[in-house]
Symmetry: C4
Subunit: 235 residues, 4 copies
Amino acid sequence: MTLARRAVAEGLGTAMLLAVVVGSGIMGERLAAGNLALALLANSVATGGGLIALILTFGPISGAQFNPLVTLSLAVMRLMPWREVPPYVVAQIIGGVVGVWAAHLMFGETVFQFSVKARPGMALAWSEVVASFGLLMVILSGVRHRAEAVPYAVAAYIVGAYWFTASTSFANPAVTIARSLTNTFAGVRPQDVPTFIVAQFAGAAAATLMFAWLFKAPAIRAQGRDTRSEALKAP
Amino acid sequence: MTLARRAVAEGLGTAMLLAVVVGSGIMGERLAAGNLALALLANSVATGGGLIALILTFGPISGAQFNPLVTLSLAVMRLMPWREVPPYVVAQIIGGVVGVWAAHLMFGETVFQFSVKARPGMALAWSEVVASFGLLMVILSGVRHRAEAVPYAVAAYIVGAYWFTASTSFANPAVTIARSLTNTFAGVRPQDVPTFIVAQFAGAAAATLMFAWLFKAPAIRAQGRDTRSEALKAP
Amino acid sequence: MTLARRAVAEGLGTAMLLAVVVGSGIMGERLAAGNLALALLANSVATGGGLIALILTFGPISGAQFNPLVTLSLAVMRLMPWREVPPYVVAQIIGGVVGVWAAHLMFGETVFQFSVKARPGMALAWSEVVASFGLLMVILSGVRHRAEAVPYAVAAYIVGAYWFTASTSFANPAVTIARSLTNTFAGVRPQDVPTFIVAQFAGAAAATLMFAWLFKAPAIRAQGRDTRSEALKAP
Amino acid sequence: MTLARRAVAEGLGTAMLLAVVVGSGIMGERLAAGNLALALLANSVATGGGLIALILTFGPISGAQFNPLVTLSLAVMRLMPWREVPPYVVAQIIGGVVGVWAAHLMFGETVFQFSVKARPGMALAWSEVVASFGLLMVILSGVRHRAEAVPYAVAAYIVGAYWFTASTSFANPAVTIARSLTNTFAGVRPQDVPTFIVAQFAGAAAATLMFAWLFKAPAIRAQGRDTRSEALKAP
């Protein structure tokens, strides 16, 4: 499949993912009558369901990475060619924003918004480090060992991570940027975005290093091997 | 298996699906003490469970399409013979109605009802476009690439879609018609049905076109090939 | 594996199943502060989780039928020898009762109880017909076509059936008898047991007939074939 | 992979598991507005999601045992060399404690805590016997018969066991020790830890004996066979 087609698929999948995250947040909050646990339960279950479906759907087309951390980590591990990183990341960011707007339209919200929801401080930054570290471990091990199970592993991880991290686990710079553009349940105000993204990269880098050590850095020894096609099929 | 047997299976499966959707809506609303998030959580989890079971059960028999959008899209993609479309669609519509009545009998409700629940407006119509677009992408990609995972992909998608669309994702004309015949949690008043169905067809058409483009319209190039039997086994 | 070992496994698995059903009902009701939807949500999710685990665990040992309807239907379909039906059914009934008592001990309840929870009337009887019909369709089709997915199919079906039937889907005579011996959330008073069991057999018989028709009664034509070992491995 | 690397992976995975258990307990309790059923529902669903992801991730690396009961039982069944038991168990205990502290940091809690939550008495001890018996049956049968499904079986079992046991199913000495170090939702006061651990070993021993009897003690007959590598890949 051509790079253009794969980038479109990547953007489309990321748009659907953000529509799921933001839309189910709006619905959950509207129906939960003020009970935040119920709203987050709906949000997390819906996101998990959406992720299973979207990774199964777009995995065979574009790899269903939906996340610049994943794209970059795969490139570092030489499972993705570097020249494809920019179009993938651009598609993810644009797709995420479009998905937020699509959700707004579904719920009769103003299309263009900025979040005012504060998510500040070291505890939340550390949450994003942990969340991103865990997500990348799940993906790096999964792509290598149990590619067919990656959709379930990632979705299950995120359902858990919505709850076990204080930040509700963004763990994705494209998602973080997009969620700054919605003043609803899933939003984050723009001034907290840079800290989140730095923390996410720190967690992803730690996971990549840990994984490389656990496997004696096989990626570095396999420099000449083009493993792109397998990787794209995998997750 | 003969077409007659497959059409009966398709109707039976759609009847069970509607019994799940409508029955769990009634139970959820009765027990939730006014909390709509809890009622929809029960409704969505029950529908997801039912879909996994029903698609696994009827998939090997009739294809477990349960949805005229899916039947038509597979016919367009030449994965289903056109002459089988009418009996399938008729079976789906009749089955759906029977399933609603079966649910009413289980809960001591009047069998014959019309919904008075209003679901009007452009936001809900757009929701049905998005919901149907996503569902068809999940199915078209799944049938082609990971047929054994389609039951899980579809169920997971619908669990998410109950929450991330403002319409709770009907995404199925047979389901929409049937749900106009129940004045309970899952109902929709008859005058909103036409808009829903038009929106559903728009979303399904967009997905079919998008999928054909992503794969360079392989269906059109494979005109002479009868792929029915594989497709029927798949979803 | 000897019949004695398999019967013990069948009883042990059914005991664990009842401990899950009754125990999670007690816990759900105790914690839910009067909200029955939350209690049933906990009860259904826990039962689904337990069923996945128990069918995966005991399926390769005894078939993990845990249900006289399933044992009898498989015997009718010639997938189980008739002489093994009595020890299986006895083990299921004894196991179920032991499991209820084990749950009572875990929650500091009196061991020996009788339920006073009324579940009377035609709507509930019809619910049990539908619930048992659906369960047997799931199992009969699953054993034949997708044996490795049966644990997930059955668990998903029961999660749905707790909600879409007005009786919360007992669908199992051994479970029904056992649940008459607990005066907690999952109980049913003894005088409603006979109606439930008759309805369950009616639903199971209808499913067996429907399935045999759909497949042109392959079991009847394959009279000489001993398919026990495959069937036992399957679900 | 070297033993050192595998022990690190085992500790890392157990740390992530405790972060999930404790973190989601804190989040659940904070958001649930006093409704304990909602808090436990969040806690159980998050733990189930985390377990699927973590066992899929670390299973191919270290076996993803995360539990001294499992490590010892596999050694008794000769599926794990005895000399590897001490480093595994030490890594699990250290990892568990680190995971609790990581969760405290994510939620702005004091790092070092002791629980004051009382979980005393025979009913809870019996709950831990049942919980551990069931968990070991799931794992021993799963490793032998359906290794690829063990992540789902264990996670599904634990989701159920949070609800069907009065103790919420610790079923793991490393987890029990670690949870004595958090004075939050998932905690247990130190003086109840010894009883829990004794009960856990009793349940695990019973399951190991039961399983050996069901299979005529194949492990004892296969003394000369080094099955470590398969076992490590399995769960």
